[in-house]
């Protein structure tokens, strides 16, 4: 192990020093502010408290965001304006178009399947006594990193030529029903579905837990009343439970759409975008890794543009909540 002692020292110093610095900032700053005239105090104090947070957000998010938009209209050397050249590249080059198509596939299937499964599993588990145990099983992949999840699924998808022993779980299962093994991650008809499924597997527990919490909030009287009126269980789920869950479903759905658009890790680890599995985020990273900064910036802007409607929805929802406070 060649880890430098100095690095450990730096980390320890950071953990201790930074809170101390902030503490000093608060105490010394307040001492100074309290000596100021009353009117100046009320004016300065809030900015003083919010400054570190606003500063970080400004340096690492707001400024880079605006700067990325600028870079996307510049040439790679950043010495002249090139108009929409980088965008035209993105929307005409076959590889980037493939990534756009795949991100759409992720958007549609990852979102609908993970939310639907979340609802179904939450409703099913609500009816059995071993609910909490089953919830742990479904939730287990959530804390697992995408990197580890990818290795888990690399084994599930493992492929060997027909006629040889299949060590991958899925192909071994196919073998028991007499089907030829499938090269899940290479075959271009299965690989995107396979990757999206890994994503769904990782996130369904998250959807389920949130939806389950909101399911528990539905009063049992409402359900009893529906049963008294002779509704069967399917009718209750379709006509009573789903409408009552709808606000939560839209919140979870929005989060899943954003997740789908930002998908990077699973694709990067399992296929690195090969065999037509590239998505927008991996496409952007490979442009970045090849130092095509302005092209990468244009890809980033396209990704951001896709998220802007959701950003507006989020802000609207926030404003509504504020009015209710």
């Amino acid at each position: 192990m060649v880890i430098g002692v100095d690095q450990i020292v730096i980390a320890i110093v950071a953990v201790v020093t930074i809170p101390l610095v902030l503490l000093g900032y608060i105490i010394v700053g307040e001492q100074v502010i309290e000596r100021l005239p009353e009117r100046l105090q009320t004016w300065i104090r809030p900015y003083f408290w919010a400054l570190p947070a606003i500063g970080f957000a400004g340096v690492f998010m707001v400024y880079p965001l605006l700067r990325t938009v600028v870079i996307s209209f510049r040439n790679n050397a950043d010495d002249s304006w090139v108009g929409f050249t980088n965008y035209i590249y993105f929307f005409t080059f076959p590889d980037t178009l493939t990534s756009l198509r795949n991100s759409l596939l992720w958007l549609v299937f990852y979102t609908t399947v993970s939310v639907t499964l979340g609802v179904i599993i939450a409703i099913l588990l609500d009816r059995v006594r071993y609910e909490s145990l089953a919830k742990i099983a479904i939730f287990l992949p959530v804390p697992i990193s995408a990197v580890a999840a990818s290795i888990i699924w690399k084994f599930m998808f493992d492929y060997h030529a027909p006629g040889t022993t299949q060590t991958g779980t899925l192909n071994a299962l196919l073998g028991t029903v007499g089907h030829d093994p499938v090269a899940w991650l290479v075959n271009s008809t299965t690989n995107n579905a396979a990757l999206i499924f890994v994503g769904i597997w990782s996130i369904t527990g998250f959807c389920m837990v949130i939806l389950s919490a909101s399911l528990k909030a539905i009063s049992s009287e409402v359900l009893e009343a529906a049963r008294m009126d002779g509704a069967n269980e399917f009718q209750i789920v379709r006509l009573v439970v789903t409408p009552l869950l709808w606000p939560t479903i839209t919140v979870v759905g929005t989060t899943m759409i954003i997740n789908a658009l930002k998908t990077f890790d699973i694709v990067y680890v399992l296929t690195a975008g090969a065999y037509d599995t590239d998505v927008i985020a991996t496409q952007m990273f490979s442009q970045l890794a090849h130092a095509h900064y302005s092209r990468a910036a244009a890809v980033g802007v396209v990704l951001f543009a896709a998220i802007v409607p959701l950003l507006i929805v989020n802000i609207r929802r926030f404003q509504q909540q504020e009015e209710q406070r």
Binding site: A11, L22, L65, S145, V147, Y268, A272, V299, R317
Partner: protein, 301 residues
């Protein structure tokens, strides 16, 4: 349920038999429900179990037969993969790097976020609403949108490739959500507590450190777990800023080994198990806080 109650009363044998069959009929009706649930549970745990089992097998065994064959003797369990992983160049260092990245990054962002959230919750200032709406908006901005300028900023300041660069980047990316969440929590604390402290002559520093922070501990605890594991599991940020540096964290090293090894990657199961051991341990030990931290995201916006 009615069947259960009926059997508690004194009954003729035929009635008992009928209610017994009734109960069985009821259970039988519910059989598909149990089957579906068990199938779901299996799909969600078996892959992980399979990989963990594989991590304790030799490379030869992994290539010759599936993991399930090991469940029957001779098991042939071995730590060979773990030895190979830990002897692989860069792995040991990267585990240390992961720790050195994760702890300070978590401490820095939570300290700053709590302070900022206090200002947004308990102070009034011009532009407060606009600042906060920007923060709500920033929560969903993909970090991809910021990578290039931040990378250029790190290169210009000489921070590129240092551990400090990812502390700062993670802090910047995590802040909007944390400020949002903590501001809502802090804002929900009873006004009287702060007012009576003010009457007693306590300044903002005292009110923040003695009242606001202690009362916010439950929220901070959940958020700490969430942020800590988010940084520990992160790939994109580390890959971008430390991809070629000697300070690469564990996730980056595993990923680079997976993509560079054509065959013989199977021993990386041990690496994956080591990488996910911490998150799983935290999840199992602190389940309630963990779920609360993870699901806090659903309240956002």
């Amino acid at each position: 349920m009615s069947g259960v109650q009926a059997t508690t009363r004194e009954m003729a044998p035929t009635v008992v038999a009928v209610s017994f069959l009734d109960r069985w009929g009821h259970q039988l009706q519910r059989l598909p429900l149990h089957v579906v649930i068990i199938v779901f549970c299996l799909i969600w745990i078996v892959p992980t179990i399979g990989m963990i089992v594989n991590s304790f097998r030799s490379l030869g065994d992994m290539g010759n037969a599936g993991w399930w064959t090991t469940l029957f003797p001779p098991h042939g369990f071995t730590f060979a993969s773990y030895q190979q992983v830990l002897n692989t160049e860069g792995v040991g260092t990267s585990i240390v790097s992961s720790i050195l990245i994760t702890i300070p990054a978590t401490v820095i962002q939570l300290a700053i976020a709590t302070m900022g959230a206090y200002a947004f919750a308990w102070m009034n200032f011009p532009g407060k609403n606009i600042f906060f709406i920007v923060i709500v908006g920033l929560m969903v901005v993909p970090i991809q949108m910021t990578l290039i300028p931040v990378l250029q900023f790190f290169k210009a300041t000489g921070l590129n490739g240092t551990i400090a660069s990812v502390w700062l980047a993670h802090s910047g990316y995590g802040l909007p959500f944390e400020v949002f969440l903590l501001r809502n929590y802090l804002g929900g604390l009873p006004r009287e507590v702060f007012e009576s402290a003010e009457v007693d002559g306590a300044g903002h520093a005292v009110r923040f450190l003695r009242i606001a922070v202690p009362m916010t501990i439950p929220a901070i605890a959940s958020l700490t777990i969430f942020v800590f594991l988010g940084v520990w599991n992160d790939l994109l940020v580390a890959l971008t800023f430390l991809g070629t540096s000697t300070n690469r964290p564990f996730t980056v090293v595993i990923t680079q080994l997976v993509t560079s090894l054509g065959g013989g990657w199977q021993f990386l199961t041990a690496a994956a198990v080591l990488q996910m051991a911490l998150p799983l341990a935290v999840f199992i030990a602190l389940q309630r806080y963990f779920v609360r931290g993870v699901t806090a995201g659903s309240v956002k916006g």
